[in-house]
Symmetry: C2
Subunit: 250 residues, 2 copies
DNA sequence: CTAACGGAGACTGCATGCAACAGGTGACCG
DNA sequence: CGGTCACCTGTTGCATGCAGTCTCCGTTAG
C-alpha cells in the first residue's frame, strides 16, 4: 500500500478505475470476459455505484465494450488495432510537437524537456534493470512534457484514449526488452529522436517536429515486432492477454 | 416529442446524455454554470443515477469539467480552444483519409461516399434554406463515411471528443451562413475538396489525401472568422454561449 | 431421442436514503 | 464597527433495495 496506485485520499470511483485498469492490463481477464459487477465489488472493495462509474469511464477509454444485453466485456485488441492506435499516437504527438513549434515555444519553456532528455542520456548506456525502469519513467515524463507544450486540452484527451491501448503507449516494451540485445540500440535511436524533436521545436520547424514525432512513435511497433519473436518475453508485457496476434493470416 | 432525440426504447442514461448535450449546446447554460444534479433531475425527468453517468460521459467528452469540490460545471471554450480543436479534427480526418488511401480502398467501397458527394453537388447551387439543411445532413454523412473507411475504432473515438466541441464539427456554421453572401462560395470550395479527397483515396495517394482533409477542416475556421463579423448571425449558432471570443487581445 | 417450453437464477439498470463536506450567512465578541 | 466562529443549507458521493430482463438448464411432450 506504499507506492501502489491504491492511494487513498481519492474517490472510490478513481480507486476503482485505476485498480480495474491495472487488473485488466495485467491480464487478469481474458478478452471477451464479462465484467460482472458483483464479483468486482467483492474484489475491489468498492460499492456498485462507483464501480459502475469506473466501468463507464473504461468503456469510454476503449478498454471495455458494451454488451448488447447490457453490461460490459473486456475488449479484444487485434494486431491491426494496435498498429493503428500506435500510428494514431504518432499523429497526435506529432501534432503536439507541431503546435509547440508553430507557436514559437520559447527556449525557457523547453527547459524541463531538455532536462528530462539529459537524464535519459545518463541511463541509456547502463544495462541494469533499474536503469530500464528509470528510463520508462523518464520517457513517460518526456512525452507528458511534449503534450503539455501543445497547450491543447483536447489533444491531451484524444491521447488519453490512445495511450491506454495495450502496446500503444510510449514505452510499452522497453521493460520487457531489458534482456533483449536490440533494446539498447533502440533506446539510443529514441534518444536521438528526442534531441531532434527539441531542436525542431526550438527552431519553430513545425513540419519537421511533426514528422520526427510520428517516426518516433513507430519505434514502438518495431519493438512489437521484436518482442513477438520472443514469446517468453511477450508473456510479461502488460495487456498481452487482451490481444490476438494472428500473424499467420498476413 | 416526435422527431426529437428523446426517443424511448433507449436507456435513461442515453436519454440524459443526449438531452443534456442538446441543452448545453443550445445555450441553456452559461459557461461556468454548476450542473447541479437535483435541478437537472427535475428537468430531464431521469433519476440521479443515470444522470450522474451521463455527467461522467459528458465530462469525458470535454463538454463539462470537474470542479475541485466535486460536481461538474459547463466548460468554457476560448477561441484558442476552438481553433485547436478544429485543427485537431483536420489532423484526425486527415489520418482517416490517409489510412483509407494507404490501405488501398477499392473503388467499390468508395461508392457510398461518391454517391453522397453527387447529392451534395445537387444542393449547393440552390439558395433556399431547405437546401442548406440538406447540405448539412449530407456533409455529415460524407465525413462519417470518411471515418468509416479508416476502419479504426480509436480514431473514431478520438474524433468523437473533438467534434462535440462547439464550432469544431464539420458543418458548424453552414446553416448560419445561409443568409451570408460568402456561403455559397465556401460550399463550392468544400465540394471541390470532397472530390479531390475521393480521388486521392482512390489513387492511394495517402499524403495528398491527408493534406486535403486537413485543409478542408480549416474551412470551418474561415467560416468562424466570417460569422464573427456578423454578431446577429452568431447568436443563432449552437453553443455560442459557451464561448468567449476575446479577439481584442490578439 | 430431440426439441420446445417453463422456471429459476443471475445480472443489470434504476431509484432513493444516508452521511460527509463545502460554502455561505448570521450572530457574537473584541 | 470589524472579524471570527458556528450553524445551516445545499450538494455530492456512496450504499443498498427493487424490479425487469436475459440466459441457461431441466423437464416434458411428441
Amino acid at each position: 500500500m506504499a507506492a501502489s496506485a491504491t492511494d487513498t485520499a481519492t474517490s472510490q470511483m478513481m480507486r476503482a478505475q485505476l485498480r480495474l485498469r491495472e487488473l485488466i492490463l495485467s491480464g487478469e481477464f481474458r478478452h471477451g470476459d464479462r465484467m460482472s459487477e458483483l464479483p468486482l465489488v467483492e474484489r475491489l472493495g468498492v460499492s456498485r455505484t462507483p464501480l459502475r462509474l469506473a466501468l463507464v469511464k473504461l468503456e469510454h477509454e476503449g478498454l471495455l465494450q458494451e454488451l448488447p444485453g447490457g453490461g460490459y466485456a473486456v475488449r479484444e485488441f487485434t494486431i491491426h488495432d494496435i498498429a493503428q492506435a500506435n500510428e494514431l499516437r504518432g499523429v497526435l504527438e506529432g501534432t503536439a510537437a507541431r503546435f509547440a513549434a508553430e507557436r514559437g515555444t520559447p527556449r525557457r519553456a523547453l527547459r524541463p524537456m531538455q532536462r528530462v532528455s539529459d537524464q535519459i542520456a545518463e541511463v541509456i548506456y547502463r544495462a541494469d534493470y533499474e536503469s530500464f525502469e528509470r528510463y520508462v519513467a523518464l520517457n513517460g515524463r518526456f512525452h507528458a512534457e511534449l503534450v503539455r507544450l501543445a497547450e491543447s486540452p483536447f489533444l491531451e484527451r484524444a491521447l488519453d484514449i490512445v495511450t491506454c491501448v495495450p502496446f500503444a503507449s510510449a514505452s510499452s516494451f522497453v521493460l520487457s526488452e531489458a534482456e533483449l540485445p536490440a533494446s539498447r540500440e533502440i533506446l539510443v535511436i529514441a534518444h536521438n529522436q528526442h534531441l531532434a524533436l527539441i531542436d525542431a521545436i526550438a527552431g519553430r520547424e513545425g513540419a519537421r517536429a511533426e514528422n520526427i514525432a510520428r517516426e518516433h512513435a513507430r519505434l514502438a511497433l518495431q519493438n512489437l515486432q521484436i518482442v513477438l519473436r520472443h514469446r517468453g518475453v511477450m508473456a510479461r508485457v502488460p495487456g498481452h492477454s487482451l490481444t490476438t496476434f494472428d500473424v499467420d493470416e498476413g
